[in-house]
């Protein structure tokens, strides 16, 4: 069964460093998402991406964040200068269609720890 994969599973970085979180969405999906979950808090939407453009972003997704689909399979989230408060579990998701009733398939997450 096709699945969304994410690497690495755990990333530790120093405050101020750049990190890139990688995701491989399901191959025939067209819509991609990043969510994050700070420990003990809700899963929060960060950004959606379609046709090589950001479709929607939340207020969390500021200039420190960027997303890219560098090739036909990967979807990346970059944090330019990490802060302590960026420590969270980051989930990638993909879906085959746009409308709200399309299921989003989630990856296992990358736990980011900023020291």
């Amino acid at each position: 069964e096709p699945e969304v994969t994410q690497t690495p599973s755990h990333q530790v970085t120093q405050m101020g460093q750049e990190v890139i979180l990688r995701c491989v969405p399901i191959s025939n999906h067209l819509y991609f998402y990043w969510y994050r979950q700070i420990l003990g808090q809700k899963v929060e939407f960060l950004v959606s991406f379609y046709n090589n453009e950001i479709s929607e972003k939340s207020e969390i997704f500021d200039d420190q964040f960027s997303v890219e689909r560098p090739d036909g399979s990967n979807f990346t989230l970059k944090i330019r200068s990490t802060k302590l408060e960026d420590s969270a579990m980051y989930f990638c998701a993909s879906s085959p269609g746009l409308a709200g009733y399309n299921e989003q398939f989630f990856g296992p997450g990358t736990r980011l720890t900023v020291l």
Binding site: E3, V4, Y31, Y33, Y35, Q41, K42, V43, E44, F45, S48, S55, E56, F91, A93, S95, L98, A99, G100, Y101, N102, E103, Q104, F105, F106, G107, P108, G109
Partner: protein
């Protein structure tokens, strides 16, 4: 803006007993509603979803949920819990127009006692 409330942070149920996890939502129109489960080290797996029609929806692993518009609720139920059901459960609401951004609740951790 939509929101989701899961009032129980954690629940302990005996194996074989019935389960109900509560979810209340706030949304200005008929919502799209989802329940996801997350086992340790795993991603979020969809259990079931409601878009329209029959308000009682069946999902995987023997779960069901009932949409009650008058109560703005979408509670998850299972008649007999198995030890393997121990996990964290998330209720989510999606917009019925535009992009399919999901808004999640804080989650309920289910513990299953022998």
């Amino acid at each position: 803006a939509q929101s989701v409330t899961q009032p129980d942070i954690h629940i302990t149920v005996s194996e074989g007993a019935s389960l109900e996890l509560r979810c209340n939502y706030s949304y200005g129109a008929t919502p799209y509603l989802f329940w996801y489960v997350q086992s340790p080290g795993q991603g979020l797996q969809l259990l079931l979803k409601y878009f329209s029609g029959d308000t009682l929806v069946q999902g995987i692993k023997g779960f069901e949920a009932e949409f009650k518009r008058s109560q703005s609720s979408f509670n998850l139920r299972k008649p007999s819990v198995h030890w393997s059901d121990a996990a964290e459960y998330f209720c989510a609401v999606g917009r019925n127009s535009g992009y399919s951004t999901l808004t999640f609740g804080k989650g309920t951790m289910l513990l299953v006692s022998p």
